[in-house]
Protein backbone atom coordinates (compact mmCIF):
# COMPACT_ATOMS: atom_id res chain seq x y z
CA UNK A 1 0.00 0.00 0.00
CA UNK A 2 2.75 2.38 1.01
CA UNK A 3 4.65 1.57 -2.15
CA UNK A 4 1.55 2.22 -4.22
CA UNK A 5 0.99 5.59 -2.56
CA UNK A 6 4.57 6.57 -3.28
CA UNK A 7 4.16 5.59 -6.90
CA UNK A 8 0.96 7.65 -7.15
CA UNK A 9 2.73 10.63 -5.59
CA UNK A 10 5.55 10.40 -8.13
CA UNK A 11 3.07 10.19 -11.00
CA UNK A 12 1.12 13.18 -9.70
CA UNK A 13 4.36 15.17 -9.47
CA UNK A 14 5.02 14.26 -13.11
CA UNK A 15 1.57 15.55 -14.10
CA UNK A 16 2.44 18.90 -12.53
CA UNK A 17 5.65 19.12 -14.53
CA UNK A 18 4.12 17.96 -17.80
CA UNK A 19 0.80 19.82 -17.66
CA UNK A 20 1.58 22.86 -15.52
CA UNK A 21 5.37 23.27 -15.88
CA UNK A 22 5.65 23.12 -12.10
CA UNK A 23 8.09 21.17 -9.97
CA UNK A 24 6.60 20.38 -6.59
CA UNK A 25 9.62 20.65 -4.33
CA UNK A 26 8.19 18.91 -1.26
CA UNK A 27 5.23 16.81 -0.11
CA UNK A 28 4.35 19.61 2.29
CA UNK A 29 3.74 22.18 -0.44
CA UNK A 30 0.22 23.53 0.02
CA UNK A 31 -1.16 23.36 -3.52
CA UNK A 32 -4.12 25.58 -2.69
CA UNK A 33 -2.35 28.32 -0.72
CA UNK A 34 0.34 28.63 -3.39
CA UNK A 35 -2.21 28.79 -6.20
CA UNK A 36 -0.67 25.73 -7.89
CA UNK A 37 -4.19 24.34 -7.99
CA UNK A 38 -6.81 26.95 -8.81
CA UNK A 39 -10.33 26.94 -10.20
CA UNK A 40 -9.09 26.59 -13.77
CA UNK A 41 -6.33 24.04 -13.25
CA UNK A 42 -8.46 21.84 -11.04
CA UNK A 43 -10.62 20.91 -14.02
CA UNK A 44 -7.61 19.98 -16.14
CA UNK A 45 -6.01 18.17 -13.21
CA UNK A 46 -9.07 16.03 -12.47
CA UNK A 47 -9.39 15.07 -16.16
CA UNK A 48 -5.72 14.14 -16.30
CA UNK A 49 -5.93 12.08 -13.09
CA UNK A 50 -8.97 10.24 -14.43
CA UNK A 51 -7.25 9.43 -17.71
CA UNK A 52 -3.88 8.49 -16.29
CA UNK A 53 -5.12 6.34 -13.42
CA UNK A 54 -8.27 5.03 -15.06
CA UNK A 55 -10.47 6.27 -12.21
CA UNK A 56 -13.69 8.21 -12.05
CA UNK A 57 -13.61 11.39 -9.96
CA UNK A 58 -17.03 13.08 -10.14
CA UNK A 59 -16.76 16.69 -8.97
CA UNK A 60 -19.61 16.36 -6.50
CA UNK A 61 -17.74 13.61 -4.66
CA UNK A 62 -14.55 15.65 -4.26
CA UNK A 63 -13.56 17.66 -1.22
CA UNK A 64 -11.37 20.74 -1.26
CA UNK A 65 -8.97 19.10 1.21
CA UNK A 66 -8.32 16.29 -1.31
CA UNK A 67 -6.28 18.83 -3.26
CA UNK A 68 -4.31 20.31 -0.37
CA UNK A 69 -1.03 18.38 -0.97
CA UNK A 70 0.34 15.73 -3.33
CA UNK A 71 0.10 12.98 -0.64
CA UNK A 72 -3.56 13.87 0.03
CA UNK A 73 -4.30 13.66 -3.67
CA UNK A 74 -2.55 10.29 -3.89
CA UNK A 75 -4.64 8.99 -0.98
CA UNK A 76 -7.82 10.18 -2.64
CA UNK A 77 -6.95 8.32 -5.85
CA UNK A 78 -5.87 5.23 -3.95
CA UNK A 79 -9.32 5.08 -2.37
CA UNK A 80 -10.86 5.12 -5.85
CA UNK A 81 -8.57 2.80 -7.77
CA UNK A 82 -9.06 -0.96 -7.53
CA UNK A 83 -6.39 -2.16 -5.09
CA UNK A 84 -5.09 -4.70 -7.58
CA UNK A 85 -3.69 -1.85 -9.74
Amino acid sequence: MLERLERLQREIAIIFVERFDTRITSHDVDLLETGLVDSVKIVELVLELEQRFGVSLPFEELEIEDFRTVPRLAERIARTTPAAG
Binding site: V17, D21, G35, S39, V40, F59, E60
Partner: protein
Protein backbone atom coordinates in the same frame (compact mmCIF):
# COMPACT_ATOMS: atom_id res chain seq x y z
CA UNK B 1 -23.30 59.71 4.40
CA UNK B 2 -20.04 61.59 4.51
CA UNK B 3 -17.61 58.73 5.07
CA UNK B 4 -17.75 54.99 4.62
CA UNK B 5 -17.42 54.16 8.31
CA UNK B 6 -20.58 56.21 8.96
CA UNK B 7 -22.60 53.47 7.24
CA UNK B 8 -21.64 51.05 10.01
CA UNK B 9 -22.13 53.59 12.81
CA UNK B 10 -25.60 54.49 11.53
CA UNK B 11 -26.71 50.84 11.52
CA UNK B 12 -25.12 50.22 14.94
CA UNK B 13 -27.07 53.13 16.37
CA UNK B 14 -30.44 52.08 14.97
CA UNK B 15 -30.15 48.29 14.67
CA UNK B 16 -27.28 47.16 16.91
CA UNK B 17 -28.53 43.55 17.01
CA UNK B 18 -29.01 43.19 13.24
CA UNK B 19 -26.47 40.86 11.60
CA UNK B 20 -23.76 42.61 9.58
CA UNK B 21 -21.56 39.67 8.58
CA UNK B 22 -22.20 35.92 8.43
CA UNK B 23 -19.11 33.74 8.38
CA UNK B 24 -18.73 29.99 8.81
CA UNK B 25 -21.82 29.60 10.98
CA UNK B 26 -21.19 32.69 13.10
CA UNK B 27 -22.73 36.13 12.94
CA UNK B 28 -21.30 39.52 13.72
CA UNK B 29 -23.91 42.17 14.50
CA UNK B 30 -23.64 45.81 13.46
CA UNK B 31 -23.27 46.74 17.12
CA UNK B 32 -20.35 44.33 17.60
CA UNK B 33 -18.73 45.38 14.31
CA UNK B 34 -18.91 49.03 15.35
CA UNK B 35 -17.36 48.29 18.74
CA UNK B 36 -14.55 46.17 17.33
CA UNK B 37 -13.81 48.78 14.68
CA UNK B 38 -13.64 51.43 17.43
CA UNK B 39 -11.16 49.27 19.32
CA UNK B 40 -9.08 48.84 16.21
CA UNK B 41 -9.04 52.59 15.51
CA UNK B 42 -7.69 53.18 19.04
CA UNK B 43 -5.11 50.42 18.62
CA UNK B 44 -3.89 52.12 15.43
CA UNK B 45 -3.71 55.51 17.12
CA UNK B 46 -1.77 53.92 19.98
CA UNK B 47 0.70 52.51 17.48
CA UNK B 48 1.32 55.98 16.11
CA UNK B 49 -0.92 55.94 13.02
CA UNK B 50 -1.81 59.46 11.92
CA UNK B 51 -4.40 60.96 9.63
CA UNK B 52 -3.87 59.97 5.97
CA UNK B 53 -1.47 57.14 6.87
CA UNK B 54 -1.66 54.03 4.74
CA UNK B 55 -2.26 50.81 6.67
CA UNK B 56 -1.40 47.51 4.99
CA UNK B 57 -3.74 44.65 5.87
CA UNK B 58 -2.08 41.23 5.79
CA UNK B 59 -5.32 39.49 6.66
CA UNK B 60 -7.22 36.81 4.71
CA UNK B 61 -10.86 37.44 3.84
CA UNK B 62 -12.72 37.24 7.17
CA UNK B 63 -14.84 39.36 9.53
CA UNK B 64 -11.54 40.38 11.15
CA UNK B 65 -10.24 41.81 7.85
CA UNK B 66 -13.49 43.72 7.29
CA UNK B 67 -13.34 45.02 10.87
CA UNK B 68 -9.78 46.17 10.18
CA UNK B 69 -10.96 48.03 7.07
CA UNK B 70 -13.66 49.92 8.98
CA UNK B 71 -11.36 50.52 11.97
CA UNK B 72 -8.65 51.93 9.71
CA UNK B 73 -11.13 54.43 8.27
CA UNK B 74 -12.23 55.40 11.79
CA UNK B 75 -8.56 56.10 12.57
CA UNK B 76 -8.56 58.59 9.64
CA UNK B 77 -6.26 56.31 7.65
CA UNK B 78 -6.51 54.52 4.31
CA UNK B 79 -6.08 50.76 3.94
CA UNK B 80 -4.60 48.41 1.37
CA UNK B 81 -5.70 44.78 1.55
CA UNK B 82 -2.72 42.64 0.53
CA UNK B 83 -3.21 39.27 -1.14
CA UNK B 84 -1.36 36.79 1.10
CA UNK B 85 -0.80 34.57 -1.96
CA UNK B 86 1.40 37.23 -3.54
CA UNK B 87 5.11 36.41 -3.60
CA UNK B 88 7.05 38.27 -0.89
CA UNK B 89 9.02 40.53 -3.29
CA UNK B 90 5.76 41.85 -4.74
CA UNK B 91 4.35 42.48 -1.26
CA UNK B 92 7.63 44.21 -0.39
CA UNK B 93 7.17 46.52 -3.40
CA UNK B 94 3.66 47.41 -2.22
CA UNK B 95 4.73 48.00 1.39
CA UNK B 96 7.66 50.15 0.26
CA UNK B 97 5.40 52.21 -1.97
CA UNK B 98 2.85 52.75 0.81
CA UNK B 99 5.41 53.63 3.47
CA UNK B 100 3.02 52.13 6.01
CA UNK B 101 3.68 53.07 9.59
CA UNK B 102 1.54 50.15 10.79
CA UNK B 103 0.86 46.72 9.40
CA UNK B 104 -2.10 44.63 10.59
CA UNK B 105 -1.47 40.90 10.43
CA UNK B 106 -2.67 37.54 11.67
CA UNK B 107 -1.15 34.09 12.06
CA UNK B 108 -1.92 33.09 8.49
CA UNK B 109 0.36 35.91 7.34
CA UNK B 110 3.27 34.78 9.56
CA UNK B 111 5.17 32.88 6.80
CA UNK B 112 4.90 35.90 4.50
CA UNK B 113 6.00 38.33 7.23
CA UNK B 114 8.87 35.98 8.10
CA UNK B 115 10.02 36.01 4.46
CA UNK B 116 9.65 39.80 4.24
CA UNK B 117 11.80 40.23 7.35
CA UNK B 118 14.41 37.76 6.09
CA UNK B 119 14.68 39.18 2.56
CA UNK B 120 14.16 42.91 2.93
CA UNK B 121 13.68 43.71 6.57
CA UNK B 122 10.53 45.53 7.55
CA UNK B 123 12.16 48.81 8.50
CA UNK B 124 10.42 50.99 11.09
CA UNK B 125 6.94 49.55 10.43
CA UNK B 126 5.03 48.46 13.52
CA UNK B 127 3.19 45.14 13.35
CA UNK B 128 -0.04 44.32 15.17
CA UNK B 129 -1.04 40.63 15.38
CA UNK B 130 -4.81 40.72 15.67
CA UNK B 131 -5.74 37.09 16.29
CA UNK B 132 -3.59 35.95 19.18
CA UNK B 133 -0.09 36.06 20.55
CA UNK B 134 2.51 37.16 18.01
CA UNK B 135 4.48 34.37 16.29
CA UNK B 136 7.88 34.02 17.99
CA UNK B 137 10.85 35.71 16.37
CA UNK B 138 8.84 38.21 14.33
CA UNK B 139 8.40 41.94 14.92
CA UNK B 140 5.42 42.48 17.19
CA UNK B 141 4.20 45.78 18.61
CA UNK B 142 0.67 44.71 19.56
CA UNK B 143 -1.31 41.50 20.05
CA UNK B 144 -4.93 40.39 20.33
CA UNK B 145 -4.79 41.21 24.06
CA UNK B 146 -3.80 44.83 23.28
CA UNK B 147 -6.56 45.04 20.66
CA UNK B 148 -9.18 43.79 23.11
CA UNK B 149 -7.94 46.08 25.86
CA UNK B 150 -8.79 49.18 23.77
CA UNK B 151 -12.01 51.01 24.54
CA UNK B 152 -15.01 50.23 22.32
CA UNK B 153 -16.53 53.71 22.86
CA UNK B 154 -17.29 55.67 19.73
CA UNK B 155 -14.38 57.34 17.97
CA UNK B 156 -14.42 60.96 16.80
CA UNK B 157 -12.97 60.65 13.32
CA UNK B 158 -11.63 63.72 11.55
CA UNK B 159 -11.54 62.31 7.99
CA UNK B 160 -13.63 63.73 5.17
CA UNK B 161 -15.40 62.46 2.08
CA UNK B 162 -12.55 63.60 -0.15
CA UNK B 163 -9.93 61.63 1.81
CA UNK B 164 -8.51 58.45 0.37
CA UNK B 165 -10.28 55.41 1.85
CA UNK B 166 -8.20 52.72 0.22
CA UNK B 167 -5.43 52.13 -2.26
CA UNK B 168 -5.83 49.11 -4.52
CA UNK B 169 -2.86 47.80 -6.48
CA UNK B 170 -3.25 46.59 -10.05
CA UNK B 171 -0.84 45.18 -12.59
CA UNK B 172 1.51 47.81 -14.06
CA UNK B 173 3.12 47.40 -17.48
CA UNK B 174 6.57 48.44 -16.25
CA UNK B 175 6.80 45.60 -13.75
CA UNK B 176 5.73 47.59 -10.69
CA UNK B 177 2.12 47.39 -9.45
CA UNK B 178 0.19 50.68 -9.60
CA UNK B 179 -1.71 51.91 -6.53
CA UNK B 180 -5.12 53.35 -7.41
CA UNK B 181 -6.35 55.93 -4.89
CA UNK B 182 -10.05 55.63 -4.05
CA UNK B 183 -11.81 58.22 -1.89
CA UNK B 184 -14.78 57.81 0.42
CA UNK B 185 -16.77 60.02 -1.98
CA UNK B 186 -15.87 57.77 -4.94
CA UNK B 187 -17.30 54.69 -3.24
CA UNK B 188 -20.31 56.45 -1.71
CA UNK B 189 -21.37 57.76 -5.14
CA UNK B 190 -21.56 54.25 -6.58
CA UNK B 191 -23.06 52.68 -3.47
CA UNK B 192 -25.86 55.26 -3.34
CA UNK B 193 -26.66 54.76 -7.02
CA UNK B 194 -26.67 50.96 -6.61
CA UNK B 195 -28.78 51.05 -3.47
CA UNK B 196 -31.50 52.98 -5.26
CA UNK B 197 -31.16 51.15 -8.60
CA UNK B 198 -31.32 47.67 -7.09
CA UNK B 199 -33.51 48.56 -4.09
CA UNK B 200 -31.13 46.95 -1.59
CA UNK B 201 -32.96 46.38 1.71
CA UNK B 202 -32.01 45.41 5.28
CA UNK B 203 -33.54 41.99 4.54
CA UNK B 204 -31.00 41.36 1.75
CA UNK B 205 -28.25 38.78 2.04
CA UNK B 206 -25.37 39.87 -0.18
CA UNK B 207 -22.50 37.75 -1.44
CA UNK B 208 -18.90 38.74 -0.74
CA UNK B 209 -17.30 36.70 -3.47
CA UNK B 210 -14.41 38.91 -4.56
CA UNK B 211 -11.10 39.00 -2.71
CA UNK B 212 -10.75 42.14 -0.58
CA UNK B 213 -7.87 43.46 -2.73
CA UNK B 214 -10.31 43.60 -5.68
CA UNK B 215 -12.47 46.67 -6.10
CA UNK B 216 -15.61 44.56 -6.62
CA UNK B 217 -15.41 43.72 -2.90
CA UNK B 218 -15.83 47.43 -2.11
CA UNK B 219 -19.41 47.20 -3.34
CA UNK B 220 -20.02 43.85 -1.61
CA UNK B 221 -18.99 45.37 1.70
CA UNK B 222 -20.24 48.96 1.69
CA UNK B 223 -23.27 48.27 -0.51
CA UNK B 224 -24.41 45.78 2.10
CA UNK B 225 -23.56 48.01 5.09
CA UNK B 226 -25.24 51.06 3.53
CA UNK B 227 -28.52 49.16 3.33
CA UNK B 228 -28.07 47.45 6.70
CA UNK B 229 -28.12 44.11 4.87
CA UNK B 230 -26.16 40.99 5.80
CA UNK B 231 -22.84 40.32 4.08
CA UNK B 232 -21.84 36.71 3.35
CA UNK B 233 -18.12 36.65 2.54
CA UNK B 234 -17.51 33.57 0.39
CA UNK B 235 -14.57 31.45 1.63
CA UNK B 236 -12.05 31.59 -1.25
CA UNK B 237 -11.43 27.83 -1.39
CA UNK B 238 -15.05 27.24 -2.44
CA UNK B 239 -14.12 28.56 -5.89
CA UNK B 240 -12.28 25.32 -6.56
CA UNK B 241 -15.36 23.13 -6.53
CA UNK B 242 -18.42 24.57 -8.27
CA UNK B 243 -20.95 22.35 -6.49
CA UNK B 244 -19.64 23.68 -3.15
CA UNK B 245 -20.01 27.25 -4.36
CA UNK B 246 -23.59 26.60 -5.48
CA UNK B 247 -24.36 24.89 -2.17
CA UNK B 248 -23.02 27.95 -0.33
CA UNK B 249 -25.41 30.18 -2.30
CA UNK B 250 -28.33 27.87 -1.42
CA UNK B 251 -27.46 27.46 2.27
CA UNK B 252 -27.03 31.20 2.74
CA UNK B 253 -30.25 31.86 0.78
CA UNK B 254 -28.45 34.78 -0.85
CA UNK B 255 -30.63 37.45 -2.40
CA UNK B 256 -27.78 39.22 -4.22
CA UNK B 257 -24.81 37.71 -6.05
CA UNK B 258 -21.94 39.77 -7.46
CA UNK B 259 -18.81 38.27 -9.01
CA UNK B 260 -16.63 37.98 -12.07
CA UNK B 261 -18.17 35.82 -14.82
CA UNK B 262 -15.61 33.01 -14.52
CA UNK B 263 -17.09 31.84 -11.21
CA UNK B 264 -20.50 31.69 -12.90
CA UNK B 265 -19.13 29.88 -15.96
CA UNK B 266 -17.44 27.37 -13.72
CA UNK B 267 -20.78 26.51 -12.12
CA UNK B 268 -22.54 26.40 -15.49
CA UNK B 269 -19.96 24.03 -17.03
CA UNK B 270 -20.12 21.72 -14.03
CA UNK B 271 -23.90 21.56 -14.45
CA UNK B 272 -24.64 22.40 -10.82
CA UNK B 273 -27.44 24.94 -11.38
CA UNK B 274 -30.92 23.43 -11.33
CA UNK B 275 -34.22 24.73 -12.71
CA UNK B 276 -35.48 27.56 -10.45
CA UNK B 277 -32.40 27.06 -8.27
CA UNK B 278 -31.57 29.65 -5.57
CA UNK B 279 -35.23 30.60 -4.96
CA UNK B 280 -34.26 33.53 -2.69
CA UNK B 281 -31.96 35.13 -5.26
CA UNK B 282 -33.28 38.43 -6.61
CA UNK B 283 -30.39 39.77 -8.62
CA UNK B 284 -27.19 38.53 -10.14
CA UNK B 285 -24.57 41.14 -11.02
CA UNK B 286 -21.27 40.67 -12.74
CA UNK B 287 -18.31 42.89 -13.48
CA UNK B 288 -14.60 42.66 -14.19
CA UNK B 289 -14.77 41.23 -17.69
CA UNK B 290 -17.21 40.40 -20.46
CA UNK B 291 -19.55 37.47 -19.90
CA UNK B 292 -20.22 35.62 -23.12
CA UNK B 293 -23.89 35.37 -24.01
CA UNK B 294 -23.86 31.54 -23.96
CA UNK B 295 -22.88 31.43 -20.28
CA UNK B 296 -25.39 34.15 -19.44
CA UNK B 297 -28.17 32.31 -21.33
CA UNK B 298 -27.40 29.10 -19.41
CA UNK B 299 -28.08 30.92 -16.13
CA UNK B 300 -31.04 32.98 -17.37
CA UNK B 301 -32.88 29.93 -18.70
CA UNK B 302 -32.72 28.26 -15.27
CA UNK B 303 -33.41 31.32 -13.11
CA UNK B 304 -36.39 33.21 -14.57
CA UNK B 305 -37.01 34.83 -11.15
CA UNK B 306 -33.65 36.67 -11.14
CA UNK B 307 -32.66 40.08 -12.52
CA UNK B 308 -29.36 39.90 -14.46
CA UNK B 309 -27.22 43.04 -14.63
CA UNK B 310 -23.89 43.65 -16.31
CA UNK B 311 -21.76 46.26 -14.54
CA UNK B 312 -18.69 47.76 -16.15
CA UNK B 313 -15.84 49.88 -14.94
CA UNK B 314 -12.12 49.85 -14.21
CA UNK B 315 -10.75 50.27 -10.68
CA UNK B 316 -9.71 53.84 -11.62
CA UNK B 317 -13.39 54.77 -11.90
CA UNK B 318 -14.46 52.88 -8.71
CA UNK B 319 -16.37 49.58 -8.91
CA UNK B 320 -18.54 50.33 -11.95
CA UNK B 321 -19.44 53.24 -14.18
CA UNK B 322 -22.16 51.73 -16.37
CA UNK B 323 -24.95 49.18 -16.12
CA UNK B 324 -27.04 47.02 -18.40
CA UNK B 325 -30.12 45.15 -17.19
CA UNK B 326 -30.39 42.19 -19.56
CA UNK B 327 -33.96 42.38 -20.91
CA UNK B 328 -34.33 38.70 -21.84
CA UNK B 329 -32.41 35.50 -22.58
CA UNK B 330 -29.89 36.35 -25.33
CA UNK B 331 -31.09 34.78 -28.59
CA UNK B 332 -27.89 35.36 -30.56
CA UNK B 333 -25.09 33.87 -28.49
CA UNK B 334 -22.41 35.35 -30.75
CA UNK B 335 -23.41 38.93 -29.91
CA UNK B 336 -21.60 40.65 -27.02
CA UNK B 337 -23.64 41.74 -24.00
CA UNK B 338 -23.61 45.58 -23.95
CA UNK B 339 -22.09 47.44 -21.00
CA UNK B 340 -25.09 49.73 -21.27
CA UNK B 341 -25.51 53.23 -19.93
CA UNK B 342 -23.69 55.34 -17.35
CA UNK B 343 -24.59 55.15 -13.66
CA UNK B 344 -25.78 58.39 -12.01
CA UNK B 345 -23.04 61.01 -11.97
CA UNK B 346 -20.98 59.20 -14.61
CA UNK B 347 -20.43 59.86 -18.28
CA UNK B 348 -19.03 57.42 -20.85
CA UNK B 349 -17.45 58.91 -23.95
CA UNK B 350 -16.38 57.11 -27.13
CA UNK B 351 -13.77 59.37 -28.77
CA UNK B 352 -11.49 59.19 -31.79
CA UNK B 353 -7.75 59.85 -31.75
CA UNK B 354 -8.29 63.61 -31.87
CA UNK B 355 -10.64 63.32 -28.86
CA UNK B 356 -13.71 64.05 -30.99
CA UNK B 357 -16.86 61.99 -30.42
CA UNK B 358 -16.91 58.91 -32.64
CA UNK B 359 -19.87 58.58 -34.97
CA UNK B 360 -22.58 56.13 -33.77
CA UNK B 361 -21.46 52.58 -34.60
CA UNK B 362 -17.83 53.67 -35.09
CA UNK B 363 -15.20 52.17 -32.80
CA UNK B 364 -13.29 54.59 -30.58
CA UNK B 365 -11.46 54.84 -27.27
CA UNK B 366 -13.67 54.66 -24.20
CA UNK B 367 -13.26 57.43 -21.63
CA UNK B 368 -15.03 57.89 -18.30
CA UNK B 369 -15.85 61.15 -16.56
CA UNK B 370 -17.67 61.67 -13.30
CA UNK B 371 -18.01 61.09 -9.58
CA UNK B 372 -16.21 57.74 -9.54
CA UNK B 373 -12.91 58.97 -10.97
CA UNK B 374 -9.95 58.23 -8.74
CA UNK B 375 -7.66 61.15 -7.84
CA UNK B 376 -4.95 59.09 -9.59
CA UNK B 377 -2.12 56.69 -8.90
CA UNK B 378 -0.29 56.74 -5.58
CA UNK B 379 2.84 58.89 -5.91
CA UNK B 380 2.94 58.55 -9.68
CA UNK B 381 2.11 61.91 -11.29
CA UNK B 382 3.43 60.79 -14.70
CA UNK B 383 1.14 57.77 -14.96
CA UNK B 384 -1.72 59.80 -13.49
CA UNK B 385 -1.29 62.55 -16.08
CA UNK B 386 -1.14 60.02 -18.92
CA UNK B 387 -4.33 58.22 -17.93
CA UNK B 388 -6.41 61.07 -16.46
CA UNK B 389 -6.43 63.84 -19.04
CA UNK B 390 -8.15 67.23 -19.09
CA UNK B 391 -11.69 67.05 -20.42
CA UNK B 392 -11.45 68.45 -23.97
CA UNK B 393 -15.04 69.68 -23.74
CA UNK B 394 -14.45 71.82 -20.65
CA UNK B 395 -12.42 74.89 -19.66
CA UNK B 396 -12.20 73.71 -16.06
CA UNK B 397 -8.67 72.34 -15.50
CA UNK B 398 -9.96 70.07 -12.71
CA UNK B 399 -12.45 68.45 -15.08
CA UNK B 400 -10.78 65.19 -16.10
CA UNK B 401 -11.58 62.15 -18.20
CA UNK B 402 -10.02 58.73 -17.69
CA UNK B 403 -8.76 56.76 -20.67
CA UNK B 404 -9.84 53.17 -19.98
CA UNK B 405 -7.79 51.53 -22.75
CA UNK B 406 -10.99 49.75 -23.82
CA UNK B 407 -12.28 50.17 -27.35
CA UNK B 408 -16.02 50.65 -27.68
CA UNK B 409 -18.85 51.71 -29.95
CA UNK B 410 -22.33 53.08 -29.36
CA UNK B 411 -25.09 50.78 -30.63
CA UNK B 412 -28.20 51.94 -32.48
CA UNK B 413 -30.17 51.73 -29.25
CA UNK B 414 -27.67 54.03 -27.50
CA UNK B 415 -26.03 51.26 -25.50
CA UNK B 416 -22.25 51.08 -25.28
CA UNK B 417 -20.64 47.86 -26.49
CA UNK B 418 -17.03 46.90 -25.81
CA UNK B 419 -15.03 45.69 -28.80
CA UNK B 420 -11.51 45.08 -27.45
CA UNK B 421 -8.41 46.66 -26.00
CA UNK B 422 -6.12 49.38 -27.29
CA UNK B 423 -3.15 47.82 -25.46
CA UNK B 424 -1.93 44.42 -24.22
CA UNK B 425 -3.89 44.38 -20.96
CA UNK B 426 -5.99 41.24 -20.56
CA UNK B 427 -8.61 40.02 -18.14
CA UNK B 428 -8.28 36.52 -16.75
CA UNK B 429 -10.83 35.39 -14.18
CA UNK B 430 -11.43 39.05 -13.47
CA UNK B 431 -7.76 39.67 -12.77
CA UNK B 432 -6.41 42.57 -14.72
CA UNK B 433 -3.04 41.60 -16.18
CA UNK B 434 -0.60 43.75 -18.10
CA UNK B 435 1.30 41.33 -20.33
CA UNK B 436 4.08 43.93 -20.26
CA UNK B 437 4.51 43.36 -16.52
CA UNK B 438 5.19 39.66 -17.10
CA UNK B 439 7.65 40.56 -19.88
CA UNK B 440 9.37 43.12 -17.66
CA UNK B 441 9.95 40.47 -14.98
CA UNK B 442 11.15 37.93 -17.57
CA UNK B 443 13.70 40.46 -18.81
CA UNK B 444 15.12 40.93 -15.32
CA UNK B 445 15.78 37.19 -14.93
CA UNK B 446 18.82 37.46 -17.17
CA UNK B 447 18.60 33.84 -18.31
CA UNK B 448 16.89 34.45 -21.64
CA UNK B 449 18.12 35.94 -24.90
CA UNK B 450 14.62 37.16 -25.73
CA UNK B 451 11.08 36.60 -24.58
CA UNK B 452 7.58 37.82 -25.32
CA UNK B 453 4.19 37.17 -23.77
CA UNK B 454 0.89 37.00 -25.62
CA UNK B 455 -2.66 35.94 -24.74
CA UNK B 456 -4.28 33.19 -26.78
CA UNK B 457 -7.82 31.87 -26.83
CA UNK B 458 -8.14 28.54 -25.08
CA UNK B 459 -10.96 26.07 -24.76
CA UNK B 460 -10.74 26.19 -20.95
CA UNK B 461 -13.09 27.92 -18.53
CA UNK B 462 -10.81 30.86 -18.56
CA UNK B 463 -11.18 31.61 -22.26
CA UNK B 464 -7.65 33.03 -22.38
CA UNK B 465 -4.27 31.45 -21.76
CA UNK B 466 -1.06 33.37 -21.18
CA UNK B 467 1.63 32.13 -23.56
CA UNK B 468 5.35 32.84 -23.47
CA UNK B 469 7.74 32.45 -26.39
CA UNK B 470 11.42 32.58 -25.53
CA UNK B 471 14.92 32.03 -26.85
CA UNK B 472 17.62 30.91 -24.43
CA UNK B 473 21.17 32.18 -24.19
CA UNK B 474 23.71 30.02 -26.00
CA UNK B 475 24.74 27.13 -23.78
CA UNK B 476 22.08 27.87 -21.13
CA UNK B 477 19.49 25.12 -20.88
CA UNK B 478 16.26 26.55 -19.52
CA UNK B 479 13.12 24.49 -19.15
CA UNK B 480 9.62 25.97 -18.79
CA UNK B 481 9.47 24.56 -15.24
CA UNK B 482 12.62 26.54 -14.34
CA UNK B 483 11.24 29.73 -15.86
CA UNK B 484 7.92 29.24 -14.17
CA UNK B 485 9.60 28.76 -10.79
CA UNK B 486 11.66 31.93 -11.28
CA UNK B 487 8.58 33.93 -12.26
CA UNK B 488 6.52 32.45 -9.42
CA UNK B 489 8.94 34.00 -6.94
CA UNK B 490 8.05 37.43 -8.33
CA UNK B 491 4.51 37.30 -9.71
CA UNK B 492 1.16 36.06 -8.38
CA UNK B 493 0.08 32.63 -9.66
CA UNK B 494 -2.67 34.06 -11.89
CA UNK B 495 -0.05 35.97 -13.91
CA UNK B 496 2.12 32.95 -14.73
CA UNK B 497 2.11 31.75 -18.36
CA UNK B 498 0.47 28.36 -18.87
CA UNK B 499 1.87 27.86 -22.40
CA UNK B 500 5.58 27.92 -23.19
CA UNK B 501 7.51 27.55 -26.44
CA UNK B 502 11.23 27.71 -27.07
CA UNK B 503 12.45 29.38 -30.26
CA UNK B 504 15.90 29.74 -31.79
CA UNK B 505 14.83 33.30 -32.57
CA UNK B 506 11.46 34.91 -31.90
CA UNK B 507 9.54 35.93 -35.05
CA UNK B 508 10.29 39.56 -35.97
CA UNK B 509 8.23 42.10 -37.90
CA UNK B 510 9.42 44.53 -40.58
CA UNK B 511 10.59 46.98 -37.90
CA UNK B 512 12.82 44.36 -36.34
CA UNK B 513 10.61 44.07 -33.25
CA UNK B 514 9.09 40.88 -31.88
CA UNK B 515 6.10 40.05 -34.06
CA UNK B 516 3.46 39.39 -31.42
CA UNK B 517 0.78 38.75 -34.01
CA UNK B 518 2.86 35.96 -35.58
CA UNK B 519 3.72 34.60 -32.13
CA UNK B 520 0.06 34.58 -31.21
CA UNK B 521 -0.79 32.68 -34.40
CA UNK B 522 1.84 30.03 -33.64
CA UNK B 523 0.37 29.47 -30.17
CA UNK B 524 -3.19 29.56 -31.53
CA UNK B 525 -2.33 26.84 -34.07
CA UNK B 526 -0.91 24.64 -31.28
CA UNK B 527 -4.03 25.33 -29.21
CA UNK B 528 -6.31 24.32 -32.10
CA UNK B 529 -4.42 21.08 -32.70
CA UNK B 530 -5.01 20.22 -29.04
CA UNK B 531 -1.34 19.55 -28.25
Amino acid sequence: MKRLQDYVSAQAERRAEAPAIAWKGERLSYGALEQRANRLARLLAGLGAQRRDRIALLLPKSPLAITAMVGTLKADCAYTPVDLKNPAPRVAQILAALESRVLLACREAAPLVEQLVRENGLGPVRVAWLDGTPPPGLPAHASLADFEACSADSVASANRAGDVAHILFTSGSTGVPKGVLITHANVIAFVEWARAHFDIQPSDRCSGHSPLHFDLSTFDTYGSFAAGAELYPVPVELNLLPHKLAQFMRDAALTQWFSVPSALNHMAKAGVIGEHDFPSLRRLLWCGEAWHAAGLAHWMRRLPHVRFTNLYGPTEATIASSWYDVPGIPQDETKPVPIGRPCDGEELLVLDEALRPSAPGETGDLYIRGVGLSPGYWRDPAKTAAAFIPNPFSDDPDDRIYRTGDLARVSEGGEIVLVGRADTQIKSRGYRIELGEIEAVLHTLGTLEESAVVAVDSAGIDGLAIACGYATRAGVATEPADLRALLAARLPAYMLPSRWRRFDRLPLNANGKVDRKALKEIFAATEASGK
